[in-house]
């Protein structure tokens, strides 16, 4: 199984690095373009959320992204050391509208609950596991029949 693990000091710029790595892995694995877009957004949300939480609670700890691919799918997980993830609002937009008032501080820029709500709306195979030490968000995208077929062909050639 091919695995890439990325440890990022919690800075906004590093969220771009995380997206870049995840998208490159997804393209290489043969994920459909539409799912690559979905994955780009999902990884961005999960990492922005973690970077925001670390910035407030653990500026010296890295955010961890793992990308693992097996013949059937691509599994990404993002781990943070922040407080447990709260309940998911039904409607992420409500979270934003309910957020800090006009003039509110930086929090407006990275609401961890809204990110989580977007992930729930976006990703079919999503697990959010909160433990005392932090939260791990795991997302999985299956590799379609096309990709599996290509692999089968290669195996047959050997």
């Amino acid at each position: 199984m091919a695995v890439v693990e990325l440890l990022l000091s919690p800075l906004p710029a590093h969220v771009r690095t995380a997206r870049l790595v995840a998208v490159a892995a997804a393209r290489r694995a043969g994920l459909d373009d539409e799912l690559v877009d979905e994955l780009r957004l999902a990884v961005g949300e999960a990492c922005s959320r973690a970077v925001g939480l670390h910035g407030r609670h653990a500026p010296d700890s890295p955010v961890r992204l793992t990308v693992a691919d097996d013949p059937n799918g691509l599994t990404l997980s993002v781990g943070d050391v922040g407080p447990a993830a709260g309940p998911v609002p039904d409607d992420a937009g409500e979270g934003l509208l309910a957020g800090p008032d006009v003039g509110g501080g930086l929090d407006e820029l990275a609401d961890p609950d809204v990110a989580l709500a977007v992930l729930h709306g976006l990703v079919d195979e999503l697990t959010v596991r909160s433990e005392p030490g932090g939260t791990v968000i795991t997302m999985r995208w299956p590799l379609g029949t096309g990709a599996v077929g290509a692999r089968a062909t290669i195996v047959a050639q050997r």
Partner: protein, 113 residues
């Protein structure tokens, strides 16, 4: 990011053309720019998102912040967006109900409540 003024039937509109990736890295800049516009008395904004390549919830948060600010002055914030990828995140978050979304700048400038 560029800004221009256009006259609509409801009065002058400030068209804000946004491009590139609007995420946790660039959203603070966009936020400042929207705050500057409102501070200088421009309460009717049309944000042209056709050049946006990526938008995440941080970017949405900034747009919502802008909407709250213009509303505090009886203003408006209309979006121009036809890109499916970008529209998707407005739908997921239920923000299609909050923002008027138009298919062209002309349409947005011509609109009034």
């Amino acid at each position: 990011l560029s800004t221009r003024s256009e006259d609509g039937p409801g009065g002058p509109r400030t068209v804000v053309v946004v491009g590139g990736e609007i995420d946790v890295y660039t959203a603070p800049k966009l936020r400042e720019q929207l705050i500057d516009l409102v501070s200088s008395g421009q309460y009717h904004l049309v944000v042209d998102m056709e050049g946006v390549e990526f938008l995440d919830s941080t970017g949405l948060g900034v747009l919502v912040g802008g909407l709250k600010r213009v509303r505090a002055h009886e203003g408006s914030l209309r979006l121009v967006c036809t890109q499916e990828r970008i529209l998707k995140i407005f739908r997921i978050t239920g923000l299609t109900k909050v923002f008027p979304i138009h298919t062209s700048v002309e349409e947005a400038v011509a609109a009034s409540d």
